[in-house]
């Protein structure tokens, strides 16, 4: 291929992207942007749709956990109207001077949901203590309102201490619902409005409304939208009876009185963490857990990586490219996709998970073993690549010489091939180890984010950063991650380069 062709091929996607950007007539039209709590997704979509039809104004929506949305807004994401799932986040935004007007729009309550095939009959919250329920899905209890409400209710019932090890923290409340629906967790605590949406059969157990602060959804008109007629119109439309009708259909309570803002609330002041050697105890736990997971993942992957690398380096067989593609897939797939596939396979009702459960009585998802599996799969291609290169660098006739001297294929592998490739093997192992230390996307899918059980350093950083004021606290873990990753990479590079003098000839 000549240079001109290469150039055209490289430029083509760029031209396409630029071209598409230009040809989009909507790009410059000022839309109204609504950020809304994940629990309001369906209702807000319908309301927005009606509003668009009536007013001819395009509404763009962004649904996520309120904590995530609030962080995005604080960091400059341009929202016009904001529906928060709790008042505390609205208060924070207000204190930061980002809010023009607000009112409490909706009310909600939390309920326990239980997978229909759960062996435990759950009629009240105490039933969740049953050992047959291994995981309870809730939204992040430190940051996401649904999780905070759930924690609050359980604390009031005196169950939180015992239940927190089982609590799988999802990044938003809809994910908690998914966990229960897929059987990844036997039970969960979600909003009543979410329980209405469950596709598969779930049992719903009401919790007393007075266990939590009244659950309120403030509607905010953001400062930067003040004076924007379209945004003001939408802010008003959300409070009209037409919108109220839709919200009611989705199980919300519609509030008409404006409740005064109540700024003194549930967020514990930034926790006082005892520190040892610069790190808090939670950070030490995350560090130990990360090491434990990374070492196990790299060790578990090693024998398979050796076999696959040897096969790819030495054998030729039909369908070799398929094996190559499968092995390398995690390298190019988004880790979240890998995690999603693993969750489907390993979930108690998945093809592998059901076998593990029925035959061995083991449940892997949301345990630290799931983190090991996720890390092992994601780091596998890196290990195979390094080891394969090392194998390919060995003259295959050295193996023939060993065979002619009477060594079997296996003995040859262990006495000649492996020792000669050892540097590549160690380098590959270190690389996989380093990758496992940093694994996030696949891990959070299959292992959740359970404090002290599956929150490795990256997960800990993620949950800290979504807590109010957490950004300032996670820098130690960020520095630690950088040091660990660079250290492992340096060792891996050093080993790959340094050839013993007597072997270089």
């Amino acid at each position: 291929m000549n240079k001109a062709t290469t150039g055209i091929l490289l430029l083509a996607p760029l031209v396409l992207i630029v071209g598409c950007g230009r040809s989009d007539p909507e790009a410059d039209a000022p839309d109204v942007v609504v950020f809304a709590a994940a629990s309001t997704t369906d209702a807000v979509k319908r309301v927005a749709c009606r509003f668009e039809k009536q007013q001819g104004i395009t509404v763009r929506t962004n649904f996520a956990a309120t904590s995530t949305l609030a962080q995005q807004v604080t960091n400059g994401a341009g929202a016009d109207v904001f529906i928060s799932a709790d008042r505390a986040w609205a208060d924070r935004l207000e204190r930061n001077g980002l809010v023009a007007r607000r009112c409490d729009l909706l009310g909600n309550q939390i309920v326990i949901i239980v997978a229909a095939d759960c062996p435990v009959e759950v009629t009240r919250a105490e039933d969740l203590l049953d050992p047959r329920i291994t995981h309870v899905a809730i939204a992040d209890p430190h940051a996401v309102p649904a999780g905070i409400y759930a924690r609050e209710a359980l604390q009031k019932l005196g169950l939180w201490e015992q239940l927190s090890p089982k609590a799988v923290a999802s990044s938003n409340v809809r994910q908690a619902l998914d966990y229960v629906e897929t059987g990844a967790a036997e039970a969960g605590i979600v909003y009543a409005t979410d329980a209405v949406l469950a596709r598969s059969a779930v049992v719903r157990v009401e919790l007393d409304a007075d266990l939590t602060e009244p659950i309120r959804y403030p509607l905010l008109l953001m400062k930067e939208a003040e004076g924007n007629a379209d945004a003001e119109a939408l802010y008003a439309y959300f409070q009209e009876s037409e919108a109220a009708e839709v919200f009611r259909q989705h199980g919300f309570r519609v509030l008409d009185e404006t409740v005064a803002s109540d700024a003194s609330r549930r967020y514990p002041a930034a926790k006082q963490r005892p520190t040892f050697f610069l790190l808090s105890s939670a950070e030490w736990v995350a560090l130990r857990l990360s090491f434990q997971v990374a070492v196990c993942a790299a060790l578990a992957g090693l024998p398979i990586a050796l076999a696959v690398a040897y096969l790819l380096a030495r054998a030729s067989f039909p369908g070799k490219w398929v094996l190559e593609a499968v092995v390398n897939a995690p390298l190019v797939l988004p880790p979240v996709v890998t995690g999603y596939l693993l969750l489907i396979l390993l979930a108690p009702r998945g093809p592998i998970g059901s076998v593990l459960g029925d035959v061995f009585g083991v449940k892997i998802v949301f345990t630290w073993w799931a983190a090991v599996v996720a890390s092992a799969v994601v780091s596998f291609p890196l290990m195979v690549r390094a080891i394969r290169l090392a194998f390919e660098a060995i003259d295959p006739r050295l193996e023939m010489a060993a065979r002619s001297l009477g060594a079997s294929r296996l003995a040859t592998f262990f006495s000649v091939t492996l020792p000669l490739a050892r540097r590549g093997v160690i380098a590959g192992w270190m690389l996989a180890f380093a990758r496992s230390l940093g694994e996030f996307g696949a891990t959070i899918m299959v292992a959740g984010n359970i404090e002290g059980y599956t929150n490795t350093i990256p997960l800990q950083i993620y949950s800290m950063s979504s807590e109010p004021g957490g950004m300032g606290q996670c820098w130690r873990l960020v520095v630690l991650s950088i040091i660990l990753a660079c250290g492992a990479l340096a060792v891996s590079e050093l080993l790959a380069r340094r050839q013993n003098r007597h072997e270089s000839a």
Binding site: D395, R397, L398, M400, A401, A402, R403, S404, L405, G406, A407, S408, R409, A411, S415, V416, P419, L420, N500, R501, H502, E503, S504, A505
Partner: protein, 356 residues
Amino acid sequence: MSLLSFQCRHRYRGGFDLDVRFELSDPVTSLFGPSGSGKTSLLGIIAGFLRPDAGRVLLGERVLLDTQQGICLRPEQRKIGVVFQDHLLFPHLKVEANLRYGQRHRRGRRSIEMDRVVDVMELGSLLDRYPSNLSGGERQRVAIGRALLSGPELLLMDEPLASLDASLKVRILAYLERVVDEWNVPTIFVTHSQAEVRRLADWVVILQQGRSVAAGTPDDALSRPEPLALKNSMGPANLLRLDEIEVRGGHAVGRLGTQELHLPASETPLTAPSYVQFLPSDVTLSRHDAPGLSTRNHLQGRVRQLVSVAEAVFVAIDIGQILWAEVAPEAVSELELAVDSPVVCLLKVHSLHVLD
């Protein structure tokens, strides 16, 4: 019963065809042929590295390969030692561990004493070194020792001398002879040097383009037109054995039966038996022993055989041993050379290479 019975057909994807059969019963056999004649493939088939399309290989009564019966022993089951052209010592092991590698995996093979091999191959001072710190000749000795210590029933050597320079070749040749004398391991070696064939082999199979064109004792087989027509390093070479050497007036003189051969000056004192190597084109023939020539060596003999090859005629002369002279076809008619005619072979001293 033959020691090795070999018949194989193999077609390479590149279009090269191999179709060879031969029987061996002598202790030392040479596979001789130009590069691309299929020598190394044959070794690969015998050692078990290459499975041919069709064939049958027997070592003694043991079937190593029989494609019809679906038998193909793995290399480690064949009890065949292989010495590779580039030695292939294990770079991560010291010499001693390299030598013991074969011993370690011997299982059911004959036992050869380590100390004796170290003695004969003079490896004592090398044991603690890594292969990368050895010279070419030392590596070759270790490779031969390692193959021997695996207790083989047959030793295969792929151009054992090809990568060595002339003086080293001579030394390794001497080691090879010692191996053959000491352990009686039947040996097949691949070479493209006729002098090596004459020096070491009892039997030679000559290969050309994937076929065996001749087989026999070196004197017989190498007197066929095919090997005589080869050029350069693969071309015909004379190798005479000197039973005695004496030094007279500062010059070495070798004894060939009743005749004498004046030898070039040598740095090291020569010991018998030695070999002297020279090209057939360096031999001048004369019908009568003419005095007054500067040429020092005049050897009397009788014509045994005349072989026409391309634009030359090779004349085999019996001087007690066989010596080849390459002459122009016109010279044959002018000198009236025929089988049994008496001739004198004139040899300049400096065209001789003595191999101690």
